[in-house]
């Protein structure tokens, strides 16, 4: 697990010194502990922005918009020629069905008649990909080959195939009409996103309420039915359990005790949080005390788990210092010598 290269070694040393810098705050707040905190926040925030750009904005907005613009201005004849050449090649090579298909499947496909609608659908799926660069003949060919390889269409009769392709070109546009609406939708989304930034300008801050309302509305709308089902209905259903559990050998006392404890716990804790009237009689006070006892046991378990989690973090860091920093550095220089 130690460093393999000199760059790794430098990384391990930086990580070790930063770890010690964080722990130095146990003695007292120093310049080093403050610096470490600032480095941590800065690096985390900086990397978050980069990851969000590369995983969200770039593939979902930037690249499709660039492709849209390029495909809008591509030479129509170049695209149709490239498509014709590729389909011709596929029909000539009879590479269909997919290489992985069995002989039985190949025979079955050969016995089918040519399905024009399916042929058009395959062409659509290959040529209307959001990320496809129509200017690149190679990309068009790869997309078509991949789409036809899994299409299971009988392309043996080349004349029929080429005739159907001519018909397809009658209605073919390099950019379908639906894509224009999609671009509009992207612009609206980006605009809503940008409206959040108006919070920095008090005069126009009211504009940020629109995206906020939209986001909350979508979140609540999508989440509420599912949360209600999973966190209320199924949980309530799970609390309807038999008070007496029977097994093959008679009564299962352990399971019975567990179920009874669950029912009593659920009812008494709910009763404890019921503040609509005063709990003055002996029965009410008793139930409340049992409820409190259940709560204390629950909090105790949570607290114990918290200690376990915090100690685990310390163990992880000391494990790193021992294995990767001290032992890793020793082994790195030992290997060099």
């Amino acid at each position: 697990m130690g460093p393999d290269t000199f760059i790794d070694l430098i990384g391990v040393w930086i990580a070790a010194l930063l770890t010690l810098g964080v722990y130095s705050s146990l003695i007292k707040d120093t310049f080093i502990s403050k610096l470490t905190e600032a480095v941590f926040v800065g690096v985390s925030f900086g990397m978050s922005i980069v990851f969000t750009y590369y995983n969200g904005i770039k593939p979902k907005i930037e690249e499709p918009l660039v492709r849209y613009y390029q495909n809008l201005h591509v030479d129509y004849a170049t695209v149709t020629n490239a498509v014709t050449r590729t389909v011709e090649k596929i029909a000539d090579a009879k590479t269909l069905p997919a290489e992985s298909a069995t002989e039985e499947l190949a025979d079955e496909i050969a016995s089918r008649s040519f399905d024009t609608n399916r042929f058009f659908a395959v062409l659509d799926s290959a040529l209307y990909k959001q990320t496809l660069k129509l200017q690149s003949t190679n990309e068009v060919a790869v997309s078509l080959q991949s789409a036809f390889a899994s299409s299971e269409i009988n392309l043996v009769d080349k004349a029929t195939v080429m005739g159907a392709l001519k018909d397809y070109f009658q209605g073919y546009k390099t950019v379908p009409t639906s894509r224009h609406f999609w671009v509009l939708y992207i612009f609206i989304s980006v605009l809503l996103g940008l409206m959040f930034i108006t919070r920095f300008f008090p005069k126009h801050a009211w504009l940020s309420r629109f995206p906020m309302a939209y986001t909350i509305g979508i979140g609540v709308g999508m989440g509420t039915p599912l949360s209600f089902q999973s966190q209320i209905m199924q949980q309530v259903q799970a609390s309807f359990i038999p008070m007496l559990v029977r097994s093959a050998n008679g009564i299962d006392w352990l399971a019975t005790f567990g179920n009874l404890s669950l029912v009593i716990g659920t009812l008494t804790v709910l009763y404890y949080f019921f503040f609509s009237f005063k709990k003055e009689d002996a029965a009410s006070r008793g139930a409340t005390k049992i409820g409190i006892a259940y709560l204390m046991i629950g909090f105790g378990a949570s607290f114990a788990f918290t200690i376990m989690a915090r100690v685990s973090l310390l163990i992880g860091r000391i494990n790193f210092l021992q294995d990767e920093w001290i032992q890793g550095t020793y082994e790195f220089f030992k290997y060099l010598n």
């Binding site: 978050s48 995983n55 599912l226 799970a238 200690i307 685990s312 163990i315």
Partner: protein
């Protein structure tokens, strides 16, 4: 003696924090020197998580068989009275069956949603479960949740499980990205992404973390939507990810789900285990150590359990000393 006790008392009063810190560090350090694995029994919650992966190939084959039976039934119905709706159903069933046959041992989705801060607890469990799936020939999909910084860490865990190394030997051959596993990477708004996976995995993730197109990868030929996934494991340091998976995968699509949490948040998830909404629950470092032991993975978490043992004994000792002091002081005050 009295003088010594009073001097010790004032010394303790002034420096007790530093002493406790130093002793805790010392206990952990000493415990980590011990390379012998701790003998642990496997709890029911961890066993459930193990069973999900262990039984996945068998359950996947049963799924194929059921789908074949359904297809035969539909075809028989079609031969008696044909309809457009029935033909569409048959086409759907055929396509689903073909997809199931491509990844014949099942598909396991591992959601890694933690950063370096929780790596000590969750890293070993994510590594062990990916390794467990690989050893059974299961195809593995890896994605992230709400934590942006989970991506670089996941990449390291996945590489380590797929390629191994001198300190992490594998009981299987090299696993190839795109054929045996795929790492989708981070996408903003995890809940919406998970919902979108219900309709089409390829529309939720067009490319993997490195920008390679997913549609061209052999593993993705057998995966269209979330129905093609046989089980999900969510390893998370925040409560949002498991709750999103419970809502989407378990409640909406009825996909078996396992959750692995840091010990600090795990007590919130026992009700879901008790209600059967979760198949298994891996609880912090202890759960990770149990999982490691059960699958024979290198004892990373297990070695750390000695340190847990020593520090817990130390904490219990401090509680007892504190209580004794409280009672003695109480008596004096009385």
């Amino acid at each position: 003696m009295k003088g010594f006790l009073s001097r010790f008392g004032s010394f303790w009063k002034n420096r007790y924090r530093a002493i406790i810190y130093i002793m805790t560090f010392a206990f952990v350090w000493l415990a980590l020197i011990n390379k012998k694995p701790l003998d642990l029994s496997i709890s029911g919650a961890t066993q459930g998580a193990l069973d999900l992966v262990e039984k996945m190939p068998e359950n996947h084959r049963r799924k194929i068989q059921e789908q074949e039976e359904l297809l035969a039934k539909l075809q028989k119905e079609e031969s008696q009275h044909s309809s457009a709706e029935l033909t569409a159903q048959i086409d759907d069933a055929k396509a689903y069956l073909e997809r199931l046959k491509i990844n014949s041992n099942g598909v396991f989705l591992v959601c890694i949603d933690f950063d370096a801060g929780s790596d000590a607890e969750l890293g070993p469990m994510a590594y062990s479960s990916i390794r467990h799936a690989f050893s059974l020939g299961i195809k593995v999909l890896i994605n992230n949740g709400y934590t942006v910084m989970a991506q670089p860490l996941s990449q390291m865990i996945v590489d380590s499980a797929a390629l191994g190394g001198a300190t992490m030997p594998r009981p299987y051959g090299f696993k190839e990205a795109g054929s045996d596993f795929v790492f989708f990477g981070f996408r903003p708004n995890a809940f919406q992404v998970y919902l979108q996976m219900g309709e089409s995995v390829l529309s939720a993730y067009e490319t993997d973390y490195s920008g390679k197109t997913l549609a061209d990868m052999p593993i993705m030929k057998g995966i269209k939507d979330i129905r093609d996934i046989d089980g999900i494991a969510a390893y998370s340091c925040n409560v949002g990810t498991p709750e999103s998976w419970i809502n989407v995968a378990q409640t909406k699509f009825n996909i078996p789900l396992v959750v692995g949490m840091t010990a600090v948040s795990v007590s919130d998830y026992f009700p879901y285990l008790q209600s059967g909404q979760l198949c298994g629950l891996i609880t912090g470092l202890r759960g990770a150590a149990e999982y490691e032991k059960a699958v024979g993975a290198p004892p990373v978490a297990n070695r750390r359990m000695w340190a847990q043992l020593y520090t817990h004994a130390f904490a219990i000792g401090l509680i007892i000393v504190g209580n004794i002091e409280y009672f003695i002081k109480g008596k004096r005050a009385a």
